[in-house]
Amino acid sequence: MWLETVLAIGMVTSAVFAIYLKETVSSVLSLSTMMILLAVLYFNLNAPFAAIFQLALGTGTAAIFLLAGDSLTKKSDLKTSSKTKFVGLIVSAVLCVPVIVGTVATASLSASLDLSISSAIWEFRAIDVLAQGLVVLTAALGVVILLKEERRRK
């Protein structure tokens, strides 16, 4: 129980730091810390595959993408007004408080299937995996087209 509490506190703290730190590099490092703690939480929940994917994609790839994006662009010095901050707090409260207050009926979901991870991915959700491949290829094509367009203009 104490491990989960420590992980939760660490995750929330690093999430706040990731949003409110001024330097983008520090923000990305905080986000990576949050993702690593999330992966530890997954290991603790007996979900090793999800944890490894979280470490590889959520932590590694996202951090590399964001740092590359930061190094390729230059930051402006405009500041956020207090009105915008207040609106942000109101929006997040409206979206999130009902979930905390309301009860989640997990009992109705308990009719579970007994599947291993490999059969869940390759048999039960095989169409999803195929569609996923299509999504990844389309995304890769989109990125290549976007960056190639810039080179052509130059």
């Binding site: 999430a15 990731a18 923000s27 007996n46 999800a50 994006g69 930051k75 869940a120 999504v135 989109g142």
Partner: protein, 111 residues
């Protein structure tokens, strides 16, 4: 229930970041946070019901999330290279100015 509160807290921090920050990279970080909070629910519910389907869905969601980040970042870099802008407010100002110009030219053509 504790895991749901943790997930919703991270979701709330992500939404606050998405609304209050105007830097494109910071907004992407907030989006990453929101998707991590959403993906956490798959694993938590799958683990509570001792079902590996939650892990399978989380793996699929993480892959799509990486694709979304890559495309959004490519768009941000393309916008920066073309307009030299990284702030969303500057981008909306440019869009408003260009739409005003378009309406002016349409009105002039009608006259």
């Amino acid at each position: 229930m504790d895991y749901i509160i943790l997930s919703v807290t991270i979701l709330a921090i992500g939404i606050v970041g998405l609304v209050t920050k105007h830097d494109l990279i910071k907004m992407l970080i907030a989006i990453e946070m929101i998707t991590a909070a959403a993906t956490m629910n798959f694993v938590v519910f799958g683990s509570l019901m001792e079902n590996s389907l939650g892990q399978a869905f989380s793996i699929l969601a993480l892959s799509v999330d990486a694709c979304v980040t890559a495309v959004a970042l490519a768009l941000a870099i393309a916008i920066y290279k073309k307009l030299n802008i990284r702030d969303v407010r500057d981008l909306s100002e440019i869009t408003e100015t260009s739409s005003d110009k378009e309406t002016q030219t349409v009105e002039e053509d009608q006259k």
